[in-house]
Symmetry: C2
Subunit: 453 residues, 2 copies
């Protein structure tokens, strides 16, 4: 279903536009296969220029187009100003085969994209009755009176294919010029834009330009390893891999390894990705905890469900963050039994039976106290596993022997209790995050080994 070509159907206000688009009257005939398809994104909205809104739309569009085998080589952003929109569109069409505009399709006087595109391409705006009806329905369904402004949204440039909006009133549209260049206009509201882009724009662009290759990528996520160590471990793979390519991105708490492959078929792409992933896994082993969107707490939650283990958490410096992350998952009540945020020493003693003498002798931030917290929590909560976390999140509270960032994380299980010492070097928020990550990771590694056992 490529976009309409002008001249293939009657231009009228009879609503035929919608039907014509649905019938897909335009064939691909005559176009060479896989024509050059350089794309350009034009974002419209004064709020973007003033920095009141961060433009996430163009990044999303760029990513989706790249994955669909279409390269974005230019982005522009202008304000709600007809002259600027026209000027930017003109420049874009001089450079690129595909121009995607986002924003400026709403019902207010400030929304000028449709007007500007129509004017620049020399096409009058025509009332589309099908669109008008669908906008009316949305209002009738909600028992709201439609304003005159919303009627503006049914005015579509002559010869354009209407792109229905399932999530809002503003329809998008696409125009195919005689020489094959395509201008597509999608809304600026992210949820509306995304659906329209993926369901309607990209499939038609691929068909119109005969694009058959796809670009797929996977992210492998690692934690508990320094970026430089990880780099060294797979440096030859990074250097030698051409397809898929490997990109490494480091975050405070984890490292993402992105594998990107270009292939003619999904199966071929998957095969190449699997091969490389296997090679990387052989090097990094359990440092890799998940893939793509998967968060560490999800992996831990899944392992807890698989092994039917229950867990309780006694946390001091992380202040509830470990509990919060473990309970972000639907169904976490199946394994998460109890958490205590024990800031005061007295609470550590009373709730977790940490001996007063232990705290007096070693200090609240010490290996013996972390161990006692984990053991005490496991006993009192009656769970299979229990974490005990104590540390100095900062910025205050540090000393020469116990600096800010010093953190002990203990895990008690049927088999005994282990404890790891960390020295985090960041600010309070990040130290909390890093400690929570290490706590979830110690849990993950224990569950992995108990599953293998």
């Amino acid at each position: 279903m490529p976009f309409d070509c002008p001249g293939t159907r009657t231009l009228s206000a009879s609503g035929s536009r919608g039907r014509a688009a649905a019938a897909g009257l335009c064939g691909r005939g005559g176009w060479p296969v896989e024509r050059q398809a350089r794309a350009e994104i034009l974002t419209v909205g004064t709020e973007l220029l003033l920095g009141q809104t961060i433009d996430t739309n163009s990044a999303y569009i760029g990513e989706q187009l790249a994955a669909a085998g279409i390269e974005v080589h230019w982005k522009s952003a202008v304000g709600d100003h007809e002259g600027h929109i026209r000027e930017a569109l003109r420049a874009a069409l001089a450079r690129s085969e595909i121009v995607i505009t986002t924003g400026g399709l709403g019902p207010t006087e400030d929304d000028l994209t449709c007007l500007a595109v129509a004017a620049e391409l020399g096409r009058p705006l025509i009332l589309d009755k099908t669109v008008l009806e669908s906008i009316r329905h949305r209002f009738t369904d909600r028992a709201i009176v439609m304003s005159r402004n919303n009627e503006r949204q049914a005015m579509i440039p002559e010869g354009a294919t209407v792109l229905p909006n399932r999530n809002g009133t503003a329809p998008g549209f696409a125009i195919r010029l005689r020489d094959g260049r395509i201008v597509a206009a999608v809304p600026g509201v992210p949820s509306e834009m995304r659906l329209m882009l993926n369901e309607q724009v990209i499939p038609r662009l691929r068909e119109s330009f005969g694009v058959t290759s796809t670009i797929r990528s996977h992210i492998l996520k690692a934690c508990g390893i320094a970026e430089s160590t990880l780099d060294e471990t797979i440096s030859d793979l990074i250097r030698l891999s051409r397809n898929p390519t490997i990109g490494v991105m480091a975050y405070p708490d984890e490292i993402h390894i992105r594998l990107t492959v270009k292939s003619e078929s999904e199966a071929e792409g998957d095969r190449l990705l699997d091969e490389l992933e296997t090679a990387i896994r052989a090097r990094l082993g359990d440092y890799l905890f998940g893939r793509d969107e998967e968060r560490l707490e999800e992996v831990v939650g899944r392992l807890l469900l698989e092994t039917r283990a229950t867990v309780a958490v006694a946390e001091s410096c992380t202040g509830g963050l470990v509990c919060h992350r473990l309970t972000n998952l639907p169904g976490s009540s199946a394994y998460f039994i109890r958490g205590d945020v024990v800031y005061a020493n007295e609470a550590k003693e009373r709730l977790l039976d940490v001996p007063h003498k232990l705290i007096a002798e070693h200090g609240a931030v010490s290996r013996p106290v972390a161990l006692a917290m984990a053991i005490g929590m496991r006993q009192t909560a009656g769970t299979d596993l229990a974490l005990g976390i104590t540390g100095i999140a900062g910025p205050g509270g540090g000393s020469a022997t116990k600096p800010v960032g010093l953190t002990y994380i203990a895990l008690a299980s049927e088999g005994g209790v282990i404890c790891r010492e960390h020295r985090f070097l960041a600010d309070r928020d990040t130290n909390k995050l890093l400690a929570s990550q290490s706590a979830l990771d110690i849990l993950r590694r224990h569950l992995l080994s108990s599953r293998h056992a």
Copy 2:
């Protein structure tokens, strides 16, 4: 300290550039006061086009320039491609008096901004010995051998003012053309870009273009009130206010009211902002909880410190999030004593003395249980205040009479115990957030009234 004019000093490799810039040899003489100063941002980096990185830099630059009275009216982004950078710069200079490029100043072969700007403006690259020395020092200090690539960063277009980089090796530069237009190149690393922009670029742009007016804005933050109700309450102020203007932005958990004023002096701006803020406060009262960057947990923490009150938290559906937010603040151990995340009923009974009968009769998610959790927690923790939170975060666990999102939040104090019922309508993550926000807000309102008492 406006940027250097070409011709005012010797162009050589002798390091005079740095001294000339420091001495500020260029006066403003001859320029009309407050010349038109339209600015344009050119972002360089292929990763931005592929959507691998979201461009936050251009939003920041736009915001800072707007606040400094300089309007950004166009943004472009191109990849690491000399031809495209040149083409974009040419188009920008045809439209705008100021062009700020960001990105592409690093030491690698992919970093082409300096090269492209020099070529487009017809200025040879010259080795700046002062820059070279400062880069050498950075490496010597860290006992690392400097690579040849880093020397590339000391090659600066002829006649440019060097903008030293306090946070990294890549210096920026600025070139003032004969007709007064200015091209400034700053790095793409946000921390380096921000410092250079605010300390070096903006003051010089204001001086060069005779900009004296400033734009200031404040954000007032509200919670516990629907957006439509807030809109109605201040609709006449929104409609009638021209300077300052009022903008309303709704988030799931709070509403931000942005007041923006343009004035010739900071004092005048502050006076106008204060006047409007007073009018808004008279309407919205305690619905307003904070200003600008202030988070609700910060306000609550400050009130707890002021009133010397201590707090403990018993939370179920929020899963640790309330404790996490309260402990995000440095020094929170002064008022935060203990938190229990009590998912299992048995934990509610044993830790908080919630009667078994109460749970059996009313269910764990009920007003009586929330009240009992708060009272039990206050007694066992020995704090001035205690929160009890129970609800259904979803997506599972709901029923016809107790739907997902139903949440009870109780606060126990010396004066007794209160409880509010909420019905949140979002997904699990947002329901947790909304419940934590309401819990912190009930605490804030109690502390406000006890402070006034």
